[in-house]
């Protein structure tokens, strides 16, 4: 297969776009497409300071790399969750440190959950039986990302979610007809409260294999192993199912996600009478919450 631009051997074939490119032209295409997506959805402006949440995985490190190359004023945040299985958190952090040390001008900060709050996420999960580890972990990360974005005066927090992530969530939400979530899933989530961070997903138009290809082509050393707690997770099953569909029918994942966004917008789906979320502020940390008194995060730690 030949590169459409130069006719040299192709490195990446994007069947969904009927586009094959060599490493050099794929890199060029990937970076400029990210910029177009940021602009198209008004995710953030060139003069904005942006926090990029990094996990040490391919998507977030690739996003950090692309935003730096595009000249955005970015700082990364690594949240050390204290996942000890196969030294996952330490290995992930090492990938972030390595990326930052490679002369890209990449600055980052670390929030260590155990040092800051007294317990690691697995320790907290053991105490709070009945709460699934992944949902608890997500809650902890969202809270910390929101806090760091607000306290650091960042205009937005960017995450490395790709189209496969978004399609898997959409699939899960459709299976359960969770109309509240279906109403809100989007490439950019606006800030609806002065202390609620704007969230942007600049890679939400890329297939996961394309972000992996970008990371490999740039020589980014990312954590290849899955989080030990995510094995057998339904998200992975949904991604596998969607990939089987994609193999049979090129562009199926893209169509599923983009048609959803387009149809929801054009036909006003899931926009019926719904009470706007009335956000107050947590009595302890001041972060926005729909709950009276303490937010879910502070309740988790038994704060008062």
């Amino acid at each position: 297969m030949k590169c459409r631009k130069c006719g040299g051997p192709a490195a990446v074939n994007m069947r969904q776009h009927r586009l094959a490119l060599c490493g050099e032209h794929f890199t060029e295409w990937f970076i400029s497409r990210t910029e177009r997506v940021i602009e198209q959805y008004g995710m953030f402006a060139p003069e904005d300071r942006v926090l990029v949440a990094v996990s040490g995985g391919k998507d977030s490190l690739a996003l950090w790399d692309v935003l730096l190359r595009l000249g955005y004023d970015v700082e990364a945040l690594y949240i050390n969750l204290g996942i000890a299985g196969q030294h996952y958190s330490e290995e992930s952090k090492a990938r972030v440190e390595q990326f930052a040390s490679e002369g890209r001008g990449a600055g980052f900060q670390v929030v260590d959950v155990k040092q800051t709050y007294g317990r690691s996420v697995p320790e907290l999960a053991r105490e709070r039986r009945g709460r699934e580890m992944c949902s608890l972990c997500g809650l902890v990360k969202r809270h910390i990302m929101n806090r760091v974005t607000y306290e650091g005066g960042f205009a937005a927090v960017a995450t490395g979610h790709n189209l496969d992530d978004e399609a898997a969530v959409l699939f899960a939400n459709v299976l359960r007809w969770q109309t509240g979530y279906l109403a809100r899933q989007a490439p950019v989530l606006p800030s609806t409260h002065p202390r609620l961070a704007r969230k942007a997903k600049p890679f939400s138009r890329f297939y996961e294999r394309d972000t992996a290809a970008y990371a490999i082509l740039q020589g980014i050393d990312y954590i290849y192993e899955e989080c030990p707690h995510s094995r057998g997770a339904t998200t992975i099953l949904y991604k596998e199912l969607l990939n089987r569909l994609e193999t049979r029918s090129r562009g199926a994942k893209q169509q599923f996600y983009l048609s959803f966004l387009k149809t929801r917008h054009e036909e006003g789906l899931f926009s019926g009478p719904r009470e706007e979320l009335d956000l107050g502020e947590c009595e302890n940390c001041g972060q926005p919450t729909t709950a009276p008194g303490l937010c879910a995060f502070c309740r988790l730690w038994g704060m008062s």
Binding site: A11, K58, S92, K141, N146, I216
Partner: protein, 76 residues
């Protein structure tokens, strides 16, 4: 013969097939892996020649980013 390596496992297959055929032969979904030969990414229509060794890289991430999806909207 060609050698296919994936997550610490290795298979020996006949030369002359495409990378896509090799991926299917070892029971994987072509959409879920990338193919690296001699340290270079190649497309899956590449014909694998005698002596080639290819590494298949899984692209599905079940890493820390996906925990966000368990609860789509802030649980506050």
């Amino acid at each position: 013969m060609i050698k296919v390596v994936y997550r610490g496992k290795a298979w020996e297959l006949k030369a002359g097939m495409t990378a896509r055929a090799a991926i299917k032969k070892v029971g994987l979904d072509p959409e879920s892996v990338l193919v690296v030969r001699d340290g270079e990414l190649v497309t899956d229509d590449t014909i694998l020649k005698d002596g080639d060794e290819v590494r298949l890289i899984a692209v599905i991430s079940g890493g820390a980013e996906n925990c966000f999806h368990r609860k789509r909207y802030p649980e506050r």
